[in-house]
Amino acid sequence: MSAPPQGLAAEPLEQLPGDLMMWVLIVSELLVFGAGLAAFLSVRLSDPAGFADAQDQLHRAAAGVNTLVLVTSGFFAARASRACLAGRPRQVRALLALAMALGGVFLLVKGLEYAEAIGAGLFLETHPFFTFYYLLTGFHAAHVLAGIVILSLVGWKASPQNLEVGTAFWHMVDLVWVILFPVIYLLR
């Protein structure tokens, strides 16, 4: 599916970096997370005080650190994509390894956060806030894990096209977190 056939895609679609299928996936993911956040905000309207109290149980600093970790990881992934274009395979793998390691750090911090919340008796059904908290951040964490796998695959079969596909997914994971973080952790 690399050679762009005439027909389906109008010109602008052909200029997308990476693969059209990755963009279909990215748009689908953004729709899901967008709908999830919209639902979260709507339910929040019915109980602002309860949501604020529930939010106070979260570890904001940990989530803030995680934001830095993930954005930095995205930076390394982007550098890897550039390095691949420049034809430096060793550098590509080193940068991808850094990006993946930071993804691992993100998951570790997230895991500690979950452990703390569960230790405090906060479960999916404790309060609507936590239903959304676990669903949205849980889905996101699953995508971080999937992203690490994808980055390892494109590192293994490194080509500029594959790197674009992999980093596009990784940036989507970044982007979703950057939106989830303020809405879930900070919004008062």
């Binding site: 599916m1 389906l8 059209l20 299928m21 996936l25 689908s28 999916l124 059904e125 239903t131």
Partner: protein, 459 residues
């Protein structure tokens, strides 16, 4: 017909059409029981007729899919079917199983028997021996077509069709697992029911539609395949977790309400994509294929599937809405147009395409076939709209005002009469279709003189 073994499809088409006739006749009986509830109440109770109506639907659609696959696979793989004999044995098993089901439902000779008795799960009522037969038939089928594809040319259309058919067979295995806990029973039951019609069947639908578009419009395979991948990706992305929209009120955890609501809302996307796909291909197509009726059915399929499955599905898929509409006539409205649009029309499109080729005829006079499309589709759309109104009234009276069920049913009788009328139109449409497709036309209609619209302003 390029390959001799494509002839197998013919036998499958005949069996499918016979069951289709049974299905719509049972539907008509049901429609009449709705307005005259004592009709046949001793001989043929409502629940039995309903079982026959839904089971024959599913079996004839499956038979049609198998037939379509036996026609499509040789052409895509560019070789004969691995073993035509196995294909006929498979059909025989399906026919015997179906006959067994009908006898079991009608006479209930083996009530409670582990192997022979009916199992009492909606849509999966078949006695266990029939379920085993279905699995054996599916295994024979998968062996046969997979061997053909493995030895032949591999195309995206054939691969996705195979993926859909493998998924269909594997998911059916959940029909054998029947936990005593009713919530768990329903949870696994949907693995068959939902993941079929809103999962793997969509792959089958997309690949058959893609095949028809390739043949009827002559658009490049590359373009068709790209659409196919997008459709399949969005179908699986939304459909798998969309299962959650069945988990709202059956005793599963509350978070399913949000998972189901969000993912199943996106199930409209693949149906929209399929509709866009069909129309864009026709607009772009350079080939002027003589089988206009097959094209009409294909476009009708994509359009009615979008409305029936996509729009009418979305209508009641959000859990705050479903809280009120669950199990009302809204569900019946959605069920009818979704099945008709997505899978009935798809099969009829494929039959219409295959028949002239299998019979070695010119595309004969297709006016009757096209008329049957409009009659059947018109009847079905009218039925859907009628039931939607009935469901809206029912939701308000029963769920909002709290009137009791039977009182509300009385209030709906006008809608049920209209539904019976539209059902009659559908049945007439089916007979017309059968006549059009089985009785050979004797004349080839020549197109009339071409009238070009004037681009000049009127004098």
């Amino acid at each position: 017909m390029k390959y001799q073994s494509q002839k197998i499809a013919l036998a499958y088409i005949y069996v499918a059409l016979a069951l289709f006739t049974v299905q719509v006749l049972m539907g008509l009986v049901l429609g009449y029981i709705y307005v005259q509830p004592n009709f046949l109440s001793e001989v043929l109770p409502f629940n039995i007729v309903r079982m026959l109506h839904t089971n024959s639907l599913v079996v004839w659609l499956l038979t049609g899919f198998f037939g379509a696959a036996y026609f499509l696979i040789p052409e895509e793989a560019e070789r004969e079917i691995h073993s035509p004999a196995l294909a006929y044995i498979q059909l025989l098993i399906l026919v015997v199983g179906t006959a067994g089901v009908v006898v079991t439902y009608l006479f209930n000779l083996f009530e409670g028997n582990f192997l022979l008795g009916k199992e009492g799960r909606e849509f999966l009522e078949q006695p266990k021996w029939v379920k085993v037969g279905i699995v054996v038939a599916a295994l024979i089928f998968l062996f046969n077509v997979t061997m053909t594809v493995l030895k032949g040319r591999k195309t995206a259309v054939a691969n996705i069709l195979l993926l859909g058919l493998w998924g269909l067979a594997l998911l059916f295995l959940f029909a054998f697992y029947n936990p005593a806990n009713l919530a768990l029973d329903k949870q696994y039951w949907w693995y068959v029911i939902h993941l079929w019609v809103e999962g793997v069947w969509e792959l089958i639908m997309a690949s058959i539609l893609a095949f028809l578009m390739l043949k009827l419009t002559g658009v490049d395979r590359e373009v068709v395949e790209k659409w196919l991948y997008v459709i399949v990706a969005t179908a699986l992305f939304s459909g798998i977790l969309g299962t959650g929209h069945h988990y709202y009120w059956i005793g599963l955890p509350g978070y399913w309400q949000w998972i189901g609501t969000i993912f199943s809302s996106l199930e409209v996307i693949p149906f929209f994509a399929m509709m866009s796909f069909a129309f864009v291909m026709v607009w772009k197509g350079r080939r002027n294929h003589p089988n206009k009726a097959a094209l009409l059915w294909s476009l009708g399929c994509a359009t009615l599937a979008f409305f029936g499955a996509g729009v009418w599905g979305f209508l009641h898929t959000l859990h705050p809405v479903n809280y009120y509409t669950h199990g009302t006539q809204i569900t019946a409205a959605h069920g009818h147009l979704a099945f008709f649009g997505a899978y009935v029309a798809l099969n009829l499109a494929m039959f219409t395409y295959m028949m002239p080729i299998l019979k070695g005829r010119d595309p004969f006079n297709q006016v009757l076939n096209m008329a049957s499309f409009w009659l059947m589709s018109g009847g079905m759309v009218f039925m859907t709209v009628t039931l939607t109104f009935a469901g809206t009234v029912q939701t308000h009276l029963q769920r909002v005002l709290g009137m009791n069920y039977m009182e509300v049913q009385d209030q709906l009788s006008i809608f049920f009469w209209m539904r019976f009328g539209s059902g009659l139109a559908v049945v007439l449409g089916v007979f017309l279709f059968l006549y059009a497709i089985l009785v050979p036309g004797r004349e080839v209609v020549k197109p009339g003189p071409v009238v070009r619209a004037s681009t000049e302003p009127a004098q």
